[in-house]
């Protein structure tokens, strides 16, 4: 007996304290989580608004999203109108200007935002009445002050400048225009041209047309009961009146017969942004949508295990990241891959991307383990998204807008679970129209010829940064000499070259005082531009009375310097650079092209932004400069230059000149707007003094 007891006790002593925990074994997952999506309460107001209420009393927070019921409108030559209008909705009402509105919102510690078809607000539920008051004020009397309109237009101009050198933005613009085309709202992209066509009146009438209670939705989330919200809405937004909502229907069709290579040139690019894309028909809630998403997850979803990542990054190291996505929308759906790749491997990368997409159609290329991983990942992201009460509200809205089954989201996880390998393969076969896709490449022009192989009819299509056909040059009806002569005569307001030469000879010096302000900056600074015949030039930039920067050239030597506050850098020009500068010195270098042996080249006629120009190009060692002469007035209204700096960076500067006025017989521009890289500067000439004596020091080091 004793022996047995001892044995039992010994056994106890040396057994691991917690039974069979083997730390080397990864624990298994529990059963797929079940969750409850709380029911939303839905009711309609007298003025036609459908209210979706998702009560949540866990925290004293309250938010609403007022979404218009209109279908999107085609904007055509005013593309971007809805965007601009959205940015202006909170700029003031009949009873509150912008400062007052900002203050009212700030005081409550709440947040308001708006876009072209919705207004959103969130804050503490104790402020809900005031928040709804503000909403009612805005929708019924937003008045789009002129000052704010101008400011927003300027802001958009800067954004467009930046966008035109942002490769990802460019690729997305082109995707929109090719996948959806000109007669679809998704295919319209704002450009400087379309922005310039938008007036304040347009914004006002857009708002009237789009913002109406008829067919609108008000999604309310948070700490409020149905009784409370009904009463509050009665006292506010229910009073709002408006016209019929706007309806339209749009179709999407992939009309390609083969693959089309679309190229957008980006000077100096060291990487290519590649998108393999095509549109397709599918509405949200389609029985195939979840299967298609899982197929996409395996092909190019956000994990390292996805096929595109495994091939293009882990195996070939062509890129940091290559993904694919499926975008299903009520008005049109599309598929696209994404990623940036070194220039040298752009063609190889396209080969691999196409190969991976094709392979999804083959039954042996996807394993059960891969499918299980994709499911786990999808279930995980879906579950995590439920944490936000806004997600619940979005689901409720989606069910109504897309006519989904009312339990659609409740069954979501189950539907993911049910997908089989056969489903995956079928989705690939049915939807991955890779042989009729667009291959968009935004990159360095040098690589384009290697990509011809991917275009079914061997013709690459060139588009610009906004998805429009690249503007080329048409043959000029005038010769270079004729154009230069017309410019000289127009600028000097002369009838003959002899007369013009005399007028110019009389001008020994020019001093201009200019006020300049960078886009988006509240400050402006002063510039003084000096010229001493024949080729001494200097520009001095001052801020608050002290010198910030100076560029100078005396015809033999030249350079630039900056004060410590402006970077403290000083540089000198090489003799070649000074010689080049001399070629285009003075207020009318055209008069001296022959004498200075300037090699100018007539490119032709170009139409841009509704304007017509004769374009003349001068090549230099590391770049080009182009002069644009207005086809009607022959004044030089635009210049463009591109040069490569010592470290290989490409710098582009575009300047537009306007408001030409007489200064001692010469027509000179009093307004300039410059763009260089991502910066924009607008300048106004305050005064021009001719033949004033200038202290020569300003042209020297």
């Amino acid at each position: 007996m004793k022996k047995i007891i001892t044995l039992i006790l010994t056994g106890f002593l040396f057994a691991p304290a917690f039974g069979q925990l083997d730390r080397s074994v990864q624990p298994k997952a529990g059963p797929a989580p079940v969750f409850n999506i709380p029911e939303s309460v839905i009711f309609t107001l007298n003025n036609g608004i459908t209210v979706i209420l998702s009560e949540n009393h866990k925290t004293p927070r309250f938010s609403f999203n007022l979404v218009m019921g209109s279908d999107p409108m085609l904007e055509k030559e005013k593309a971007g109108l809805s965007e601009v209008a959205g940015q202006l909705i909170l700029s003031g009402t009949e009873t509150m200007d912008k400062d007052q509105l900002d203050k009212a919102i700030d005081m409550l510690g709440v947040h308001f935002s708006a876009d072209g078809n919705s207004i959103y607000a969130s804050g503490l539920s104790k402020h809900k009445e005031k928040m709804l008051e503000i909403l009612q004020n805005v929708v019924s009397s937003a008045n789009f002050p002129e000052k704010e309109f101008d400011r927003i237009v300027k802001q958009n101009e800067s954004a467009l400048t930046m966008a035109s050198s942002d490769a990802d933005q460019i690729a997305q613009n082109v995707l929109s225009t090719v996948d959806f085309g000109r007669n679809h709202p998704y295919g319209e992209v704002m450009t400087k041209e379309t922005l310039a066509n938008i007036t304040r009146d347009d914004v006002v009438s857009y708002f009237k047309k789009e913002f109406t209670p008829n067919g609108a939705y008000l999604v309310v989330v948070g700490d409020v009961t149905k009784a409370e919200i009904t009463a509050l809405l009665q006292g506010s937004i229910e009073k709002w009146t408006g016209g019929e909502k706007f309806t339209a229907s749009y179709t999407v069709e992939n009309k390609n017969q083969g693959r089309r290579l679309i190229f957008v040139k980006k000077p100096g690019a060291v990487q290519s942004v590649i998108k393999v894309t095509f549109p397709f028909n599918m509405k949200p809630g389609d029985p195939n949508q979840i299967r298609l998403n899982l197929m996409n997850q395996i092909l190019g979803g956000g994990t390292f295990e996805a096929k595109l990542m495994q091939n293009l990054r882990e195996d070939k190291a062509y890129t940091y990241g290559c993904y694919s996505s499926v975008n299903v929308n009520r008005y049109g759906s599309y598929f696209t891959t994404s990623g940036s790749f070194r220039n040298a491997v752009t063609d190889s990368a396209i080969v691999q991307i196409l190969k991976e997409i094709e392979s999804m159609k083959v039954d042996t290329s996807v394993s059960q383990a891969q499918l299980d991983l994709a499911k786990a990942s999808s279930i995980g992201s879906f579950s995590r998204s439920l944490e936000s009460p806004q997600t619940i509200a979005r689901f409720a809205l989606s069910i109504i807008q897309n006519n989904l089954d009312k339990d659609y989201y409740k069954n979501y996880l189950k539907k993911i679970d049910e997908v089989t390998l056969t489903d995956i393969q079928n989705m690939a076969k049915e939807y991955l129209a890779v042989d009729r896709s667009y291959i968009i490449v935004v990159g360095n022009e040098d690589i384009a010829e290697k990509l011809v192989q991917f275009d079914t009819d061997g013709k690459i299509e060139y588009l610009d940064a906004f998805g429009n056909e690249e503007a080329g040059f048409t043959k000029s009806d005038l010769t270079l000499d004729q154009i230069l002569e017309k410019n000289i005569l127009a600028t000097t307001q002369s009838a003959t070259i002899k007369e013009a030469t005399k007028k110019i000879a009389k001008i020994k010096s020019v001093q201009q005082e200019i006020k300049a302000s960078p886009a988006g900056s509240p400050v402006s600074f002063d510039m003084i531009s000096y010229f001493q015949a024949p080729n001494k030039e200097a520009i001095v930039i001052n801020f608050n009375g002290s010198m910030m920067q100076r560029q100078y050239s005396n015809g033999v030597t030249g350079g630039s310097e900056a004060s410590p506050m402006a970077g403290g850098k000083s540089e000198e020009l090489t003799p070649e650079e000074v010689a080049e500068k001399n070629q285009t010195a003075g207020i009318l270098p055209e008069l001296f092209y022959k004498a200075n042996k300037v090699e100018a080249n007539l490119l032709g006629i170009k139409e841009e932004m509704g304007k017509k120009y004769y374009v003349v190009e001068i090549k230099s060692k590391d770049g080009v400069s182009q002069s644009y002469y207005d086809a009607t007035s022959f004044l030089k209204t635009k210049t463009y230059s591109s040069s490569k700096s010592k470290d290989g960076e490409v710098n582009e500067v575009t300047i537009e000149y306007s408001d030409f006025k007489d200064a001692s017989g010469i027509l000179m521009p009093y307004k300039m707007s410059q763009q260089f890289g991502q910066m924009a500067l607008s300048s106004e000439v305050q005064s021009i003094e001719i033949n004033k004596s200038i202290d020569g020091k300003v042209f020297e080091k």
């Binding site: 390292f304 995590r384 960078p518």
Partner: protein, 494 residues
């Protein structure tokens, strides 16, 4: 008009927002090995945040071994005895989760956000790196490079990136806050493997760890799982003995712990787990948790103005005016937080309206605190508009501070900041990740987990007079550190 080179570059810095807490129910208890556990149940969404906070930060480092705490944060992703190098993150991501970690002067925090049916996975993962993470030369060498890269990318190559290190070094002469978490490359290079092992064995122990879990859990089931993975982790010297048995040769272990003999241990390990071997053959090794000593140095008060000029790769000069700040949870702390909001919270704030918009002296002017466990630092940063002298901005800033020291803020301003803090308080606890961290913070720093619910009352209790007094007491023009950041001169660049 010919080309003009660009000279103006507008930069903006986003204001840092500090999250507050809301009414949350929780369960907390200690394990026998000293680990603290906090559980918050919320079944509305099928997710769970699993996190551990270790009460070790840069202030616990040996002064000749700075950067360790942060370095360890990286090392903890290198795997463990049972998790292969590179697998840790993958395991989380493959299962629909996300993960992250961060290190401060006072603590190191790790968390995973997972679907709730993967709670056990999360517990296992964290238990693995608490119990026996891979702290060896392979991982150390790999992460040394990664940390160096991080320092380059996030500090050295960032405009104004060095300000934290510069400011803390001048503000603190005795307290370990004089070094910042990123540490020095020289110290990290000089450290040996045994330095790293010592750090792990000292600070990565159950009684220095708080396990904080928030999400779709069943309290009883979770407690069982915590028992399974954590209660079984040894404590005290015994934990390190077990770790050593897993990593070192029997000879080394026997030599280190002065018990048993190599042959016996070698044989025993063939049939028994390291824990069983430890229990049976090392009777002298204690399992009593060893308390972690936190530094008790009190930094002497600042008595004057300390200034310094830094030349950096920047376009616009900037001024950093730094003031001593009260410790978190002290009454004054809340007043200072609210004062900061008055000075620079939002477009209608004092600094923004006056200095940025009206006088146009700065492109941005913000006031932000570094809330730390021991008394820390508050910073006012102004980035100059082109051509504006830093002295001009400093004077303008002092004028604004003098105003809040002299006159009470308006009723409207008071209402605004109360609403703003209340809004932050309620909206920050809308995520399980946020709640898990807040619960852990409140326990580790203040041993008052319920602050997650009661802290808002401390803000509500702050009066206009308190704000004025805080301005007088802390934003002292004659006792502060001022850094002037100027663009590098041409020769410096070469």
């Amino acid at each position: 008009m010919k080309k003009i080179s660009s000279i103006l570059l507008l930069t903006g810095l986003s204001t840092m927002v500090f999250a507050q807490e809301k009414k949350i129910d929780f369960t907390e208890y200690d394990l026998a090995n000293g680990m603290h556990v906090i559980l918050h149940k919320d079944n509305s969404t099928p997710i769970v945040a699993v996190s551990i906070m270790y009460h070790v930060g840069s202030k616990n480092e040996n002064p000749t071994r700075t950067g360790f705490a942060h370095f360890f944060e990286h090392l903890m992703f290198e795997g463990s005895v049972n998790i292969k190098r590179g697998e840790y993150s993958k395991l989380v991501e493959m299962n629909g989760g996300g993960l992250n970690a961060n290190t401060s002067q006072d603590r190191t925090y790790y968390y995973e956000l997972l679907p709730s049916n993967q709670l056990e996975l999360g517990l296992w993962l964290e238990s693995e790196r608490l119990f026996h993470a891979n702290v060896d030369s392979v991982g150390i060498e790999t992460q040394r490079q990664v940390v160096k890269e991080e320092k380059r990318q996030r500090v050295d190559n960032q405009p104004y990136g060095s300000f934290m290190a510069e400011a803390f070094a001048l503000m603190f002469s005795e307290h370990p806050y004089k070094s910042t978490p990123i540490g020095s490359m020289a110290d990290l290079d000089a450290a040996t493997e045994s330095d790293y092992v010592n750090f792990y064995q000292t600070f990565y122990v159950p009684n220095n760890a708080t396990l904080s879990i928030a999400g779709d859990i069943d309290i009883e089931k979770t407690k069982e799982l915590i028992n399974k993975y954590y209660a079984s982790i040894p404590a005290g010297k015994k934990l390190n003995l077990v770790r050593d048995l897993e990593k070192l040769t029997p000879e080394k272990v026997v030599a280190k712990y002065g018990e048993s003999d190599a042959k016996t241990i070698e044989t025993a390990l063939k049939t028994m787990t390291p824990e069983q071997v430890a229990t049976k053959y090392f009777k002298k090794v204690s399992s009593t948790p060893i308390p972690i000593k936190q530094p008790t140095i009190v930094e002497p008060a600042l008595t004057k103005v300390i200034t310094d000029t830094v030349y950096d790769n920047i376009q616009l000069p900037a001024i950093f005016a730094c003031y001593r700040m009260p410790a978190e949870d002290s009454k004054d702390f809340y007043a200072v937080q609210m004062l900061n909001e008055i000075l620079s919270g939002g477009p209608s704030s004092r600094f923004n309206k006056s200095i940025v918009e009206k006088q146009q002296l700065a492109v941005t002017m913000i006031s932000f605190p570094f809330p730390l466990e021991d008394p820390g630092m508050a910073v006012v940063l102004g980035i100059a508009s082109a051509g504006i002298d830093l002295k001009t901005i400093q004077d303008a800033m002092d004028v604004e501070i003098k105003k809040v020291q002299t006159d009470l803020i308006t009723d409207d301003e008071y209402t605004k900041i109360q609403n703003s803090f209340e809004n932050d308080f309620y909206s920050s606890n809308s995520t399980m990740a946020g709640i898990a961290e807040a619960l852990a913070n409140n326990y580790v720093y203040f041993h008052n987990t319920n602050l997650i619910n009661s802290e808002i009352d401390k803000y509500r209790a702050v009066t206009k007079e308190d704000i004025r007094n805080a301005a007088i007491k802390y934003f002292t023009a004659d006792k502060r550190v001022i850094l002037y950041y100027l663009p590098k001169k041409e020769d410096d660049k070469k």
